[in-house]
Chain length 248, copies 2
């Protein structure tokens, strides 16, 4: 019956030792030659077994040291109740900062960037634009303890935010700019999916193999149901836990 490949058997044995805690976070796995000798297989076979575990996100690879068991403690990111505090309260950016700081980590932000571009297909559909229209894209990378944990892009119809601070090439914390432009946001819809990162995302977020990302889309609507803002957040799956509080 069990004609499972040797490579899988080796991988599963190691996986078991990791899950049972026999090999705790940070523990060193056998090297490729060691593993090969111990099981009487070629180095490639041992290597393939180890790479299965990499693909499953269970181990880190460090040159010269070998492979170690990955630890996964995640920071929390509150996405309801605290994301949009009342008018004069702290802004979104501040909320992020304080939320991360409350968890004992050091928040930072870099690569802030504002562009006028043609909207990507997904965004165009949501905002009711064509691929020839223009939109304002405000991007940034948010980090915790020096590690990038969110890749954010906010998209707006260029005709709506023209002349406002949102079209400026400068950061802003104010949340009521759209309202002043006559487009008050009254509710959001969040869309959450998981997928593997593309190479660009993997690089910007410093992801190792076997780490998926959460794609978090937040669409802001006016009272009459017009979408006026699309926020795209790419989050390493091993960095954050998204959190929603729901009254029932």
């Amino acid at each position: 019956m069990a004609k499972t490949p040797v490579t899988r058997k080796i991988a599963d044995e190691l996986r078991g030792r990791i899950k049972r805690g026999e090999l705790g976070p940070g523990a060193l796995l056998p090297s490729e030659p060691d593993l090969a000798d111990h099981h009487g297989v070629s180095r490639q076979t041992a290597r393939n077994a180890l790479q299965i575990l990499e693909g499953d996100g269970l181990v880190d690879v460090q040159r010269r040291r070998g492979r170690t068991v990955r630890s996964h403690q995640r920071l929390r990111w509150r996405l309801s109740d605290f994301e949009h505090p009342d008018s004069t309260g702290s802004s979104t950016a501040d909320a992020w900062d304080t939320d991360i700081a409350d968890q004992g980590a050091t928040p930072s932000s870099r690569d802030f960037d504002v562009q006028k571009i043609n909207p990507p297909p997904t965004v165009a559909t949501i905002l009711g634009l064509t691929s020839d229209d223009e939109c304002i894209c405000r991007g940034r990378v948010r980090s915790a303890d020096g590690r990038p944990v969110v890749l954010s892009h906010d998209y707006f119809d260029e005709r709506i935010v023209r002349g406002t601070e949102l079209a400026d090439e400068a950061d802003t914390q104010r949340e009521d700019i759209l309202k002043e432009a006559g487009y008050e946001q009254t509710y959001d819809v969040d869309h959450i999916t998981a997928r593997m990162p593309d190479p660009t995302e993997a690089r910007k977020l410093q992801l190792s193999t076997g780490t998926p990302v959460i794609e978090h889309l937040r669409v802001g609507y006016t009272p009459d149901g017009k979408a006026v803002r699309v926020s795209v957040h790419i989050v390493p799956g091993d960095a954050l836990t998204l959190e929603y509080v729901i009254a029932t």
Copy 2:
């Protein structure tokens, strides 16, 4: 400068053709020998390139046919506003069914199962139990169009639900059982992370390599902040989009 491995170059070339739509969903990729010949490399190298794309969840493998470009259309799963309708409304299970049906898919459920077990560590911590306490675990697999899309487990403190329908080995649609037991749920907290599936999950959800899962934890609380219910949902990243509506 560019000392990128041949294997990556080949993978990136194919990735580009996929992203540009040159190779649309369902399109057949070159076979391993073809790719090897065309690039003047060994079959293993061509194979490794193709497996990078598999790891990125971009292609499906079909025996004898070859590798095809994967298509990803996702169903929507509403997790707020509609998940907990008022008392006499439709139940959670029904809400799922109608929600999926509304999207033109056929919902089904199987492998319903009730067990009395020691709680897994995560659940034990949340419910305030030790690993020696007992809890009731109610599991099921939900499918759409025959494909499993949610692996669900509900956990309750055994002492709380003892004697209620929740401890019975039968399905139930009623939502107010906990309330009758004196533990009314008034709010939920959802925790969402992404990770690679373990082999058991991959099997039950029929996942191909390169498909991450969303781990969705919903914790139900009583008015005084006691956690009385933990729902764990494992969702293939390419099957569903979680959706939250948030009033601001």
